[in-house]
């Protein structure tokens, strides 16, 4: 089992009020699954995504990622896990504006302590796999939205992570470009990768092989569509 979550909760204290953003979730995700997490705003899907991405730690419950208990790690240990196990794709791409596509893709490798030569080779390799070899030296402002998101996807894959976490990956793209990006995810999934995606758009969720719907911090529905 790649991801195993047991009765995970995330509780925020606002003044004297306690808000359970994630109110006890049990979930298992296997290697090479393609999961969409859906839910209205306030359903806790973003908070849950942050927990899955090790950006945040749960208030209660356990989380095993790739066989390792990660719910009680220090900040630096979490940073290491994020670097090795997780590839993030964001709605707003989050590329460094002053760095080239290749430099953006190399960034996780820098924090992984990979040598400069290997970084260059691996960045070129993943840029090729997303079809951007000829854009490697371009800055984000010289790229279209779809190209930027493909750079971000290349950056998410460059460290060969266990899971790719995509947060509304087509939210800032027009529908045609959105379809291109989704078919790229299909290709990545077909190559054996595990994808977990947060979206509120049904037609985007349709690409996934399993749809999990959250409501009030709990799983309301968990359907396999393949």
């Amino acid at each position: 089992m790649l991801i195993k979550v047991r009765d995970v909760k995330k509780i925020y204290e606002v003044g004297i009020q306690k808000i359970e953003a994630v109110a006890g979730i049990d979930l298992e995700i296997d290697r090479n699954e393609y999961v969409a997490i859906m839910g209205p705003s306030g359903s806790g899907k973003s908070t849950f995504m942050n927990l899955l991405g090790c950006l945040d730690t749960p208030s209660a419950g356990d989380y095993w990622l790739n066989g390792k208990e990660v719910s009680n790690l220090s900040d630096d240990e979490l940073a290491r896990i994020r670097n090795r196990e997780i590839g993030f794709v964001f709605q707003t791409f989050n590329l460094l504006p002053r760095a080239t596509a290749a430099q953006n893709v190399e960034l996780p490798l820098i924090y992984g302590g990979i040598s400069a030569d290997e970084r260059r080779d691996r960045a070129a390799e993943v840029l090729e796999s997303v079809g951007l070899t000829d854009r490697a030296k371009h800055r984000p402002n010289e790229l279209s939205g779809g190209q930027r998101q493909r750079v971000a996807i290349a950056r998410a894959m460059v460290n060969r992570p266990s899971i790719i976490l995509a947060d509304e990956p087509t939210g800032n793209l027009d529908s045609k470009t959105g379809i291109e990006i989704m078919s790229l995810f299909d290709t990545i999934h077909a190559a054996g990768n595990t994808i977990v995606m947060v979206t509120h758009e049904e037609h985007i969720a349709d690409y996934a092989k399993r749809v999990i719907r959250l409501l009030d911090g709990k799983i309301e529905e968990d359907i396999r569509t393949d």
Partner: protein, 409 residues
Amino acid sequence: MQIFQGMNIALRALHENKLRTFLTLLGNIVGTMSVIAVVSLIGGIDDYVKEKVAGEGSNVFTIERFNFFEAITDLDAFLEAIARNPRIKLSDVEYMRERIPSASYVAAAASSDAQVSYRDEWVDRISIRGRSEEYPMIEDAPLFLGRHISRLEDQKSVSVAVLGWEVYTRLFPRGDPLGTRIKIGRKHFTVTGVVEDLGTVLGESKNRFVYIPVNTFLKTYGARTSIEIKVKAADITLLDQAVDEATMAMRIRHGLRPMEDDDFAIVTSENLISLWEKISTSIFNALIFIVSIALVVGGVVLMNVMLVSVTERTKEVGLRKALGARKANIIWQFIVESVTLSLIGGIIGILTGFSIAAIISIVSPLPYVVAPWSIAAGLIVTFIIGIVFGTYPASKAANLDPVVALHSE
């Protein structure tokens, strides 16, 4: 790799917002600039003083009623000396001549300022130097024309004068001055000689003087004027011995008991050098104080700009953390940036400091030297400022919550 990346970010930020960067670095620039400029100039004067004061006539010392330099170094002692110390008289010189075996010459000297004129020409504020006949052996006074004052002229208080170069050239633009009668104040003097051009020291002409016999001087300016006794040791190695002999003789002459302080002053060129050292040390201390203020202000401004930079790049910090940057990575990134900025300020300060020193030494007579330690000090201090004032913004960035940082706008 990360160092270069951080430096790159800093250099790019600098390039993209030159005015802001300049203002950020102003404190550092002013700080290092003043250190470098002042250190260069003081170093230059230092060399000059040591070479000139110690080089010429370093085996000559003076017995004086009081040491005017003490007014700078120890004002209380100086005021006490003014009240207590007796006048030095011409008879003291005669007494001393016999009692300093290590000296080759002992001479009387007294000075005043006066106007010197010849027909329609005149020069103001000329140093009138009353001297006994040994002065050419003690002072730097090579003859250009004529002869020096003789013993007989001194004994008989004859009104004769030996002119300094500036007096000569101003009063006698053409023609031979020897034997002509000039006026010092209202009194007539016959010119017997002219001293060669002696050049300048730190911009002051060394040629604005007239030598006259010391007895004539005392008759003209009052017998109650205190004089100085100039003593030339037979050899530089005998200087200390000569000073001891002179001190002993003066104490006996003044009837001082063993525990009493000297009621006269002995000024050696070593005194002058140590006085200069005291002055330059106090300039340095004042400088360090001023520069510290400039650098602290510079550091605070740098910190402020780094805090703005952290705020502007909160989202970037969040992204870097999401991609696996540890706290140390983020701290490192911002420290490299602030150190780079700070060092650039230091380097600009060093360059402008040397330029200012060079310009000053061109437009004024002050010399300057490039002291390598001042460059190193400038770089080290600005390096430390970069670290000290970059640490707080860097740790602020490193402690950002990645979730919050990622979702900031």
